[in-house]
């Protein structure tokens, strides 16, 4: 690792030779450790308040009952331990009606759990595949040298810079019944009115907004491939397709996988676009939207259970992706500097 090397070089004169010197270096590490913990403390405190505390609270709440009027006695009851009932509400679709546990009626938010899981994963898979494929294409074009490349790179940043809320409103307008898409293609599709067009619209909007980001990450990966590798392959008579498969792909793979990992985790918590474009109607309710709807109906404890489920789900997906793709996210994203030694 770079910094270790650098600091040991810098401290070269006081390098440990004997046991006594080793103690000195230990002491040095201890003082650095103390300095580090002071420097990290503010970040740690903020993240603890905003992330750790809410998570712990949400997990506790998810095991508690909503306080309210007991339907049998008509008295106010103050919640209490609920066991797994909040989780059963979502996973097994169990509702409590008049003190009896029944399966949730179709209109209940609990009944939407599995369909919203399906929607969330559908959006995640569809957008990540499209964004990776199109982003790769964009990156390959952007990596070429030609006049007007500056214009290309600038225009690619425009969708990225536009706030998601604006993107949502813009695409709802583009997909409006009398809107430009229906006029250009001579169709009369009620885009936000039924499941498939609504989903397609949300995916197109997301692809428009996020592909540039993907393309830039892949481009950065492409640019660290030394040009002479291609030259050598060309001299050896390797075809363009072979060069792509055997040189470009393996070399760009680390950057690509990290980009895919981050995009997937981002897509699994998608909220802004479907919320503003359809309000979650017509099978576009993602898990995040469902949590907010449950909060709005005042059921904080079951909302906490659902958000815990969402968190665990995202965590599991992250774990599976990291294992399956062999990504070392911490290593690749932050620690590896230029002077990477190991």
């Amino acid at each position: 690792m770079a910094s270790e090397e650098q600091s040991s070089v810098a401290a070269g004169t006081e390098q440990p030779r004997s046991g006594k010197d080793e103690k000195v270096s230990h002491r040095k590490e201890a003082t650095q450790g103390r300095a580090a913990s002071l420097l990290i403390a503010p970040t740690f405190i903020v993240l603890s308040i905003v992330i750790v505390y809410p998570v712990v609270l949400a997990v506790i709440q998810s095991f508690q009952k909503d306080s309210g009027l007991d339907p049998k006695t008509g008295l106010f009851v103050a919640g209490g331990f609920a066991g797994l009932s909040n989780y059963k509400h979502w996973i097994l679709q169990q509702c409590t009606a008049g003190g009896v546990t029944v399966s949730c009626p179709p209109g209940n938010l609990g009944a939407q759990f599995w369909s919203s899981i399906g929607t969330t994963f559908f959006f995640a898979v569809a957008t990540v595949i499209l964004e990776t494929a199109i982003g790769f294409g964009m990156a390959v074009i952007m990596a070429r040298t030609f006049r007007g490349r500056g214009l290309l790179r600038a225009s690619v940043l425009v969708p990225w810079a536009i706030p998601t809320a604006v993107t949502a409103k813009l695409w709802v307008f583009i997909f409006a019944f009398e809107g430009i898409v229906n006029k250009i293609f001579g169709t009369s599709i009620l885009w936000t009115g039924s499941a498939n067009p609504a989903r397609a619209g949300i995916i197109i909007a997301d692809v428009w907004k996020t592909t540039p980001f993907m393309a830039l990450l892949i481009l950065a990966g492409l640019q660290i491939i030394p040009g002479d590798v291609y030259e050598a392959a060309k001299v050896d008579g390797v075809t363009a397709w072979q060069r792509f498969v055997h040189i470009t792909l393996p070399l760009v793979k680390p950057a690509l996988l990290v980009a895919v990992l981050f995009r997937t985790l981002d897509a699994l918590r998608m909220y802004d676009l479907p919320q503003i474009m359809t309000g979650g109607a017509n099978n576009t309710t993602t898990l995040s939207i469902l949590v907010v709807q449950e909060i709005r109906s005042g059921k904080f404890n079951s909302a906490a259970a659902l958000s815990t489920i969402t968190f665990i789900l995202i965590f599991l997906v992250a774990l599976i992706l990291v294992r399956a793709l062999g990504i070392n996210a911490v290593e690749t994203t932050t620690v590896s500097g230029k002077g990477k030694a190991k």
């Binding site: 450790g33 990290i40 905003v50 007007g148 706030p163 998601t164 995040s288 969402t310």
Partner: protein
């Protein structure tokens, strides 16, 4: 024999050269075609937003591809408070929240990134993992507990109810980028300043900070954009006084019920977007460097 093949070769060579040149021309033409498609695809929706924002409301759905029925009424409507929209206030709110978030996240981020890039300590990977995990966290999981916490503190409708969560969203990004910038700094200069009698913090402030300024500036832009574009937390933890621009756009209402005032919305959207687009185009190079700083190498 030998002369014959030689003449054949010289005859063949121009053909091959011409073929190679035409292939090259075709390749560069293809590059331009694809580049053109990308530019049009990226800019057309944004162009349509601007065109619509200048169009008379009676021609909202007009399909004329260039500016027509030009009027400034939509911009007046966007800023008007008659129909319950407060775009001006939302812009001020977003600016205040964005600036505070950026400044605080940068200060904390610089401390942490310095420690991660320069100091040796045992829990380094633990800290990195913690920060990475924080950045993957689903925002909805935070809404309820934060809402209840801020309600108890009587903070709903205050700026800090937005700024504090936003700092935590901006921090992981800030730290990644700064760590990767800090790693490439010429730290020997810090050492030599120390030898010349500077204290550690003096060396950092007087030698390292000026050199790190471009990286810090890039990080600031990205942190500000993150905060300006946030919607979920803002829609749940703000009230009409602290509403940010994204919430204002999402809930923009017209005078007619059940009828979306698209031209006015597009005007408001253009106003909200223009500062960002200008910023992004001016600092294009830095932003691309910052966005990709942590991701590769």
């Amino acid at each position: 024999m030998t002369t014959a093949t030689a003449t054949q070769d010289t005859q063949k060579a121009p053909h091959a050269k011409r073929r190679a040149r035409s292939r090259q021309r075709w390749a560069s033409a293809r590059t331009y075609i694809f580049a053109g498609v990308i530019v049009v695809w990226c800019l057309l929706p944004a162009y349509w937003m601007v065109v619509t924002s200048f169009r008379d409301v009676g021609f909202t759905y007009d399909a004329t591809p260039f500016f027509s029925h030009v009027t400034l009424d939509n911009y007046r409507a966007a800023f008007s408070t008659d129909t319950g929209n407060h775009l001006t206030r939302a812009l001020i709110n977003s600016l205040i929240v964005g600036v505070f978030t950026t400044v605080i996240a940068l200060i904390f981020g610089i401390f942490t990134a310095y420690a991660l890039a320069r100091l040796n300590f045992r829990a380094k990977y633990l800290v990195l993992g913690f920060i990475l995990a924080a950045s993957m966290f689903p925002g909805v999981a935070l809404v309820t507990p934060l809402f209840q916490l801020f309600t108890n503190l009587n903070w709903i409708g205050t700026y800090q109810a937005l700024i504090i969560p936003y700092i935590s969203f901006a921090l992981p990004l800030t730290i990644y980028i700064l760590v990767s910038f800090f790693r490439e700094m010429p730290w020997e200069l810090e050492e030599s300043a120390r030898i010349d009698g500077c204290t550690k913090s003096q060396a950092f402030r007087k030698i390292i900070m000026p050199l790190a300024a471009p990286g810090i500036f890039t990080t600031a832009i990205l942190a500000f954009i993150t905060s300006w574009n946030e919607f979920l937390i803002a829609s749940q933890l703000s009230n009409s006084q602290t509403q940010t621009v994204t919430v204002a756009i999402a809930s923009f209402t017209g005078s007619q019920p059940h009828q979306e005032p698209y031209t006015a919305i597009m005007a408001a959207a253009t106003i909200v977007t223009i500062p960002l687009v200008i910023m992004v185009l001016v600092f294009q190079r830095q932003i691309v460097a910052g966005l990709t700083a942590g991701a590769v190498k």
